[in-house]
Subunit: 198 residues, 2 copies
DNA sequence: CGCGGGTTTGATGATGCTCAAGCCCGGTGG
DNA sequence: CCACCGGGCTTGAGCATCATCAAACCCGCG
């Protein structure tokens, strides 16, 4: 099937940024993944469910977030093409998740469950290496974001976000960007207004 | 040497929380580490230097932080016994570091440099696994902290910190806890005052 | 005893929140 | 084709939280 082929090409391209895989090794890999379409507004994970999969996004956009006691959403992560998304805590411990994951646009993903993930990591050390490197990069990015949250104003955090991901304005609604930054949509609107007057 | 033995025991204990190592494997490991004492207030890494080592703390407390244009410190991480600390970005890319690392008490560490780290990961897949697991746990903790920073008030973040690390008050000065939380020492003092009136 | 760093307390101000209303624009139905 | 609707963005007024600056306090140590 054509579309499926293209999804796996995106996965392979992403993997080969960090590790070199032979055709056999990659073929071995692919058998562990389940393709899944997620339509806009459809859940990949609901609060209270166990997160059974790591999701690799081949097209579209997903987000992970929580909903607090007041009903407010707090977006922890966006995931575009070539990114991974999951609730790792629930995935690894089989505890009910405190996060939700859904699609902000019609999206396509490749899912891998925990037994497969562990099997793949043990049977193919290169795969384990890939995830170590991925997690290292995430560690760096997370610390940058934590530093921003303790040292920068909302306006500075917004500018840093635009700097690190200039296309985000085209793909993500402002109220979602505000949620990701930890401010209200009103505050972001005023910040943008202020910036444009320069 | 007695003390050295004890440092490596702490390392071994920590590794064996996630992987099973034979005596030979562990012995192989130890040859890659350099013991280093860091006295209170002494730097392990200074801004602008390349971060040459991952540091494993066997006793004492270190912190990583930045200093902004106003001269304010922003603490990104504490590291106690059994924890790792480094500027991973600088370590992996050999770019000058934007972080500083120093000791808050007299401390002892085991250092491993980048070539050794890579050699160890390739020669001993278990070691790579250990770091993958460690980074997974860090991913979970980082996302929790990011979520806290975008969804909770300063008081709620402080209570969450006490909850996740009840002994922190005994070991870390208040102004450093405040810095870690992203608030001023004055604000933390008022929060503690408010909490104690209950 | 007095010094000095860390914490506390107080007064004032800035940043961002809340609530409410208005605006813009694309989609729907008459 | 146009009027209406609704969601998302903007704007405004008042408010809460936390920052800033300054002074006082506390306590270990020379």
């Amino acid at each position: 099937m054509e579309a499926l082929q293209s999804m796996f090409n995106i996965l392979r391209e992403q993997l080969s940024k960090h590790i070199a895989l032979t055709d056999e090794e990659f073929l071995h890999c692919t058998s562990f993944f389940i393709p899944k379409k997620v339509r806009k507004d459809q859940y990949l994970l609901q609060e209270g469910d166990v997160c059974k999969y790591l999701a690799f996004v081949t097209t579209g956009t997903l987000r992970s977030y929580t909903i607090d006691a007041k009903g407010e959403e707090h977006i922890v992560q966006f995931a575009f093409e070539g990114w991974w998304i999951s609730d790792l805590y629930s995935f690894l411990t089989s505890q009910p998740s405190t996060y939700l994951i859904d699609a902000l646009e019609n999206s396509e993903t490749l899912l891998i469950d925990a037994p497969s993930y562990n099997k793949l990591c043990t049977s193919l050390p290169k795969f384990e290496r890939y995830f170590r490197i991925l997690l290292q990069n995430n560690y760096i990015a997370s610390h940058r974001r934590i530093l921003a949250s303790i040292s920068l104003s909302a306006e500075e955090r917004y500018l840093q976000l635009l700097d690190s991901c200039p296309t985000i304005g085209q793909r993500i609604a402002q109220r979602h960007i505000a949620s990701f930054l930890g401010i209200t949509p009103e505050a972001l609107s005023r910040i943008r207004n202020r910036i444009s007057k320069k």
